[in-house]
Amino acid sequence: MSAISSLRDLTYERQLTIRQRKGRVLEVIAFFSILLGIAILLTLLIDVFLDGLPWLHPRLFTEFPSRFPEKAGLRSALQGSIWLMVFTALMAIPIGVGAGIYLEEFAPKNRLTEFIEINIANLAGVPSIIYGLLGLGLFVRGLGLGRSLLAGALTMTLLVLPIIIVTTREAIRAVPRSIRLAALALGANEWETARDHVLAYSMPAILTGVILAMSRAIGETAPLITIGALTYIAFDLRGPLDIFTVLPIQIFNWVSLPQKDFQNLAAAGIIVLLALLLSMNAIAIWLRNRLFIRW
């Protein structure tokens, strides 16, 4: 009896060490995976900063593009990018979050909503150039908006809507059922429950989705070139119906020029784009922390 149990202990011991060893191997693999990601990111950042830092100058923000690298700036591209993001956010966030709330809280579960849900999930994976073609046909030519900032923002809205809708739904789904039931039990109607409790509780997660969506939009070039965003603009933006350019297009143009200095200038442009992206995310994170509710 004791012999059998000691034998059992022995095999158990042996298997335990094997299992622990397997666990450690996996840990090492996982560690190197994350190291690889960080190493690539660091290489890119260091490379960009080495080339771009000497060219990072206040002039970049105040001057228009020029054929002389030492006089060239990003003023028009920066204006275009910032306003494009503002308009995209203004349209995409209310529509996206609204659609997410409806689908998750109010929509009847039937064939139609199922069909819509599948389509939204698929839309999130459609290549951005397709949205550019849609925008060209629908907004630029169909609605007659021309090659305007507004047409660009509408196209970007279409591009990021699926991301916002999907993350909103995920966020709402994570709200504990008890919170909904408690609100309803206290006499709140469905809309009040959704607005004051479900939405408030899921807001931080929704904002994370919004950050992801906006980060994608700010780096897009292909759909904007398709709808006719310009490359060289040496004047200030006059309004949402004016022609425009954005940072990635300006950077791409500089990279393709023969003069070496323009490539360094492009690196400086990338730093500005990164800074814009990070400050946009910082605003969202600040909002998220303010809105975070502990129960």
Partner: protein, 366 residues
């Protein structure tokens, strides 16, 4: 509840920003009025102008330019200087390639189209269908440089015949060694680099070397970004490639230029002189802008811009790495514009190799 209210404030602030910039969005109705009243006011303005100011009147408006990425740096440089002199005129420049530019131009979406080759038959048709007439103006020369790695000491000159042997479609998978080009070249593999197949540069090179536009072997490394080709050739001792001369000028230390023998036994290296006077053949090409004929009458600022362009081009073209036309050709181009001569001097045949611009323009102006 408090949190929800602060969110409301954020939204409110955003909508205020929108409201603030909404009046600025008014140009559309203004534009409509402008075109309606343009006929009446033009006459009045002309009279007033001649009485009060003998100099050209207040020039304002927007001139939309789009097209070739090769020509864009020139138009951008001109636009930059022009807007310093005429701050009321806005000249944005887009880059959608020569073909993409013509698509927009023939659709009436742009006023001026940059082109690194003459308009093609299909594009002539498209313009005709939409009732768009155009004035074709040459603005500069571009030399296509053939290059090898600096460590390559055996190649200094190649004939057009040899280049054809390398690049023709039949060479694919066959001509893979330097000693197949010329027996005295070493037994060394050949690797090829060239402009992307969608570019006007590729169209011109194949037309000039292979004899048929858009036909070449497929097993070479193509890139739309010439800086990628520079890197490729600089890092590969077996390399042979071609691209715009401007990119060679900026990377002289990393590349070796190959002289071209156009069948007459003279090896010619591309430089400002040989490209401009036409001795570097067949790889020097003219670059163009196309002006929408109808818009010229609607927008006075276009004429001012074109005159400025042709006047300043010789200086600005050099700044951005291209080769200016001769003063006579700029003059002939201005005459062509003044007479509003529409259509192409190449009559829609696409890239034309080895024709003298001056001859063509001079013949026409008689």
């Amino acid at each position: 509840m408090l949190k929800a209210r602060s969110l409301l404030f954020v939204t409110l602030a955003f909508s205020l920003i929108i409201a603030a910039c909404a009046p600025a969005a008014a140009p559309t109705p203004e534009k409509v009025v402008e075109t309606v009243t343009v006929v009446e006011t033009q006459v009045v303005e002309k009279v007033v102008e001649t009485i009060i100011t003998p100099t050209p009147g207040p020039v304002e408006g927007t001139i939309l330019v789009d097209g070739s990425s090769t020509v864009a740096p020139i138009t951008m440089a001109v636009a930059e200087e022009f807007q310093k002199e005429y701050p009321e005129v806005r000249v944005p420049v887009g880059i959608s390639g020569t073909g993409g530019g013509f698509k927009k131009f023939c659709n009436g979406e742009t006023d001026i189209s940059d082109a690194s080759r003459p308009i093609k038959e299909s594009e002539v048709e498209l313009c005709k269908q939409n009732g768009i007439e155009y004035i074709e103006l040459p603005v500069a020369f571009d030399g296509l440089a053939v290059m090898v790695n600096p460590s390559n000491e055996f190649v200094s000159c190649l004939t057009v015949e040899e280049l054809k042997k390398i690049w023709e479609p039949a060479a694919e998978g066959v001509i893979t060694n330097w000693n197949q080009i010329r027996p005295e070249f070493p037994n060394q593999p050949l690797s090829l680099y060239g402009a992307g197949v969608d570019s006007g540069t590729y169209d011109y090179f194949t037309q000039a070397i292979v004899g048929k536009e858009g036909e070449s072997r497929g097993d070479f490394l193509p890139s739309e970004d010439d800086n990628v080709l520079v890197q490729g050739i600089a890092g590969d001792p077996n390399a042979l490639g071609f691209f715009g001369l401007a990119y060679y000028e900026e990377n002289k230390d990393k590349l070796k230029l190959v002289a071209i023998d156009n069948g007459d036994g003279n090896c010619v290296l591309p430089d400002i002189e040989t490209v401009a006077n036409g001795t570097y053949q067949p790889l020097s090409r003219p670059l163009f802008i196309y002006v929408n004929r109808a818009r010229v009458d609607q927008k006075d600022e276009i004429s001012t811009f074109i005159a400025f362009y042709l006047q300043k081009a010789d200086e600005l073209v050099l700044d951005v790495g291209y080769i200016p036309l001769t003063p006579e050709i700029y003059q002939l181009a201005q005459q062509r514009y003044d007479k509003r001569i529409t259509g192409s001097i190449f009559e829609g045949v696409g890239s034309t190799v080895g024709v003298s611009l001056q001859d063509l323009l001079a013949k026409e102006s008689q």
